[in-house]
């Protein structure tokens, strides 16, 4: 069974802390994504990566950075957490075949609920 795992289901951090959210997929997918999900706003794309060490900004990249050193792992970094980054964070992956296909089926992890105090 295909799987996307996220390092924590729940995380509580303090304002100003550096926060790492980790995501691992076992499907050998080229593409990986980070979203945040907020009530009334749905899913918003933060960053995505189409290959190792490659990244593209999504709709709301401000305050975030990402790292992809290995194909199976995609990290989301909050350099200095703020209370407005309290949210559910979802990681996803999808395959590519010779190019980035945004419409290819995405497989999601269970999410990390981050609370910044």
């Amino acid at each position: 069974d295909v799987k996307v795992t996220q390092s924590s289901r729940y995380l509580v951090k303090r304002t100003g802390e550096k926060v790492f959210l980790e995501c691992v997929q076992d499907m050998d997918h080229e593409n990986m994504f980070w979203y945040r999900q907020d009530p009334g706003l749905g899913l918003r794309l933060i960053y995505f990566s189409y290959d190792v060490k490659m990244k593209e900004k999504g709709d709301i990249p401000e305050g975030y950075s990402v790292s992809r050193e290995k194909k199976e792992r995609f990290s989301l970094i909050l350099e200095s957490a703020s209370t407005n980054q309290t949210s559910m964070y979802l990681c996803a992956s999808s395959r590519s075949a010779g190019g980035f296909y945004g419409h290819n089926e995405q497989f999601f992890g269970p999410g990390t609920r981050l609370t910044v105090l």
């Binding site: 706003l41 749905g42 899913l43 945004g102 419409h103």
Partner: protein, 110 residues
Amino acid sequence: LAKTTQPISMDSYEGQEVNITCSHNNIATNDYITWYQQFPSQGPRFIIQGYKTKVTNEVASLFIPADRKSSTLSLPRVSLSDTAVYYCLVASSGYSTLTFGKGTMLLVSP
């Protein structure tokens, strides 16, 4: 960029057919329409995808008119377990479009 608009919520009863419409007026030629289902405490999961006309699989149908400015997810004979949030996604090949709607909360009652 294509923006998507969906109803915030819908109510239904078991055994009824449910149709959820998503508007995407600025859809581009290369964009596909995909629907995802999300249960509480889980990530979204793929239901169905289409480009034009009608697509049907074992769980749903997707109707896309000729102008492609909207799409309708049809769930036949819903059950209580279909209670979930349904997201419309417009996405293309290349990097240009990857836009989720805000989701429709479907509540199915006995």
